[in-house]
Subunit: 417 residues, 2 copies
């Protein structure tokens, strides 16, 4: 069998460890030059494939590729671009195959969440029917932890570690100040649909921190919430609130959508944290502080979970190994084999069962009152944040890599997105 | 000379390393039992002294005190409580002396910023005139870096390292996403009066990140700012903005005070970051994300600067050594003796020159256009963020200490604050 090229692309929101998966893909491919001639990366994700804007990763040194393991973000660029259904836009899928054919690409590694799993699956199906079969392997990635079958998604463990650590540190701060100043600290975290990230905030309860969590899965009940805050402050002198950006009222409105207007009458896009903080202040008079972690949480490679880094790398490596073993339309998964001590191995899931399935927090992971997490949830979460994997630092800052990202020469005409 | 007790209190906003100073004070005092019998800490800062709510630090093990070195926040509680002037409230100063006398306290170590330096100075003066002389030593602490004479303040270096690292990581994230999604990322940082913390964001320029800084020292010019954002995005595809919470319009209004109202007409307390982000969106249409680091930045012991930790500890140790050498009404300082390689030693400043003097960013540290920092500023900042000093972790989270904080038996009647 002659060597084919591989195509690798990053999709959707990036994470602290998606480049560790890229590292796993490229380093493993480099060990099999007889089977994989070169890895071409899509510049800005799948858009790079559609527009034939490919990056020649063979121009990067082994050191640069190794540095991907500890560099956050998407080294080749990512995109938010969802391919439409085959029926609605067959043209895009055909273009992908055309580009793959032009560049002798036999392997398609797509690193993303649910949408990209779906795209990956379709590419595999269509390539077959178009007579240019491509082995399509999906590499799981999402801070939201919402992919099915896999025990957890690379990217999530590091955000969870960051949020739990940050909430712990800020809670110590508030505890110091509560006598005369801040009594309530509100931290807004990501997770528009699923409360996995917010749940990580619940881990600080075991450090004696009074914490309340507002999950997207639990309808927000303002009166019950305010009573819970008061009870915590009366008992402990202070309270930390972790609010998911996806927390919403029973009518489906997000907490963040408060119809606020600026001085000119423009609708003001705020966060959920200031809304919750002001709500507490209005009802109780407690002094508050709030933070919105936003990109800081998913980019915080300096505090990545070692477990997460290892799994992200392993998913990239396994994707290539699956491809070399002839598998198609599959995704490597993390399979938990033991809780204590935590042990895991690489599993495999057919993309037909992954595409378009979202995994939510099980209700039994959320405490009965809806404001905390259960022992089962802690048992699930704690292994995922285990271990530290610090990047190298230089002059006081992390020394992350920026690749050359040299283009591959184009062979086809332009393509309108 | 018989042994006296020492009183130690933490004042104002806490930091990632104020407990390292406490560690320096207590460990050094413990090495001189012939001179310092015991260190009593004020529960919740100076309020603990006024209300005779003292903590007996001798109840804490050597291990617990050593753990203060890597535990953020104020281990004994802090407070925002400014003693009035001697004329306006002589009663409070007299009460302090009364408490010190009742507990045989001969040394007063006050760990804080400008206000507490002033209090410390007054206590020293008044104790003399009341016939119970106390040696009052101020231990510098403030994330705002606004104390005079000392080259920098313990607490600042770690915030600077956190902000520069976070801005760098988030910028990598934005760079990945900019093709189809977020083009402008806005990070709000602390520093109501002085732009030192915001300046730290400028360090990422040397990592090829297009960054604009909004300083409190520079009047905000909306048209110039928006033009600068557009220029950066057109050149680089994206842009990071670091905005100080203290950034303001020429008329003195803070950017954060936009007169925003919620659906019920209540004034909405927002941050400067969403205001700036929405302003950019309205003018350019660029998709944005924003973060407000708030307490996360000053509590982030997990990413403390090693230099900062060492200096914080050294200030605590020097305070005790100064006291033992008979000094009074002074503050240990950080004295920079060399830039490259960076070297520093402990200096000493009379409190009469420290109290009520605020140090602002020199104009020559801010670039001519007002949106960046100069080479001189970088030369000043880089040594302060040098080195990492990670806390121990357990089960994936930092293992910080919570002290027993056992009370000292009261000897006096109650006191109304």
């Amino acid at each position: 069998m002659s060597a084919k090229n591989a195509f690798y692309a990053q999709s959707g929101g990036v994470t602290a460890v998606i480049n560790a998966s890229a590292c796993g893909v490229i380093e493993t491919a480099r060990r099999h030059p007889d089977r994989i001639a070169n890895v071409y990366a899509g510049r800005n994700g799948i858009i790079g494939a559609l527009t034939e804007d490919l990056i020649d990763t063979s121009q990067e040194s082994d050191e640069a590729i190794a540095a991907l393991r500890y560099t956050p973000s998407g080294a080749f660029g990512s995109c938010r671009y969802k391919l439409k259904s085959l029926e609605a836009n067959r043209r895009e899928y055909e273009r992908l195959i055309e580009v793959f054919k032009a560049h002798d690409i036999g392997y398609f590694f797509y690193n993303g969440g649910g949408d990209s799993a779906d795209t990956c699956y379709k590419v595999s199906q269509l390539s077959e029917s178009l007579g240019y079969p491509v082995q399509a392997i999906h590499v799981p990635k999402t801070v939201d932890n919402d992919l099915p079958i896999t025990d957890n998604c690379p990217g999530f463990g590091s955000v969870a570690k960051y949020i739990a650590t940050s909430a712990l540190e800020a809670s110590y701060d508030v505890r110091s100040m509560a006598k005369t100043s801040t009594k309530v600290f509100v931290l807004e975290v990501m997770g528009r649909h699923a409360g996995w990230i917010a749940a990580a905030g619940g881990l600080i309860e075991d450090h004696d921190i009074p914490v309340l969590i507002l999950f997207p899965e639990i309808e927000f009940d303002q009166a019950r919430f305010l009573a819970a805050v008061k009870a915590k402050v009366e008992q402990h002198g202070y309270c930390t609130v972790v609010v998911s950006e996806g927390a919403k009222y029973p009518d489906g409105r997000f907490l963040a959508e408060q119809g606020t207007r600026d001085a000119f009458g423009h609708a003001q896009l705020g966060g959920a944290a200031p809304v919750v903080a002001n709500m507490v202040k209005d009802a109780t008079g407690y002094k508050f502080h709030w933070a919105v972690a936003d990109y800081l949480q998913r980019a915080a490679r300096h505090l990545a979970s070692k477990t997460d880094v290892e799994q992200a790398y392993a998913m990239g490596r396994a994707a290539v190994e699956f491809a070399l073993a002839g598998h198609n339309a599959v995704m490597p998964t993390v399979k938990r084999t033991s809780n204590d001590p935590y042990a895991w191995e690489v599993g495999e899931a057919p993309l037909s069962q992954v595409a378009n399935v979202e995994k939510f927090m099980p209700r039994e992971f959320i405490s009965e009152d809806g404001f905390g997490i259960t022992a089962a949830c802690k048992q699930y979460l704690i292994p995922l944040i285990q271990g530290e994997d610090y990047p190298p630092f230089e002059h006081g800052l992390p020394k992350y890599v920026t690749l050359k990202n040299a283009p591959v020469e184009r062979k086809l005409g332009a393509f309108e997105l």
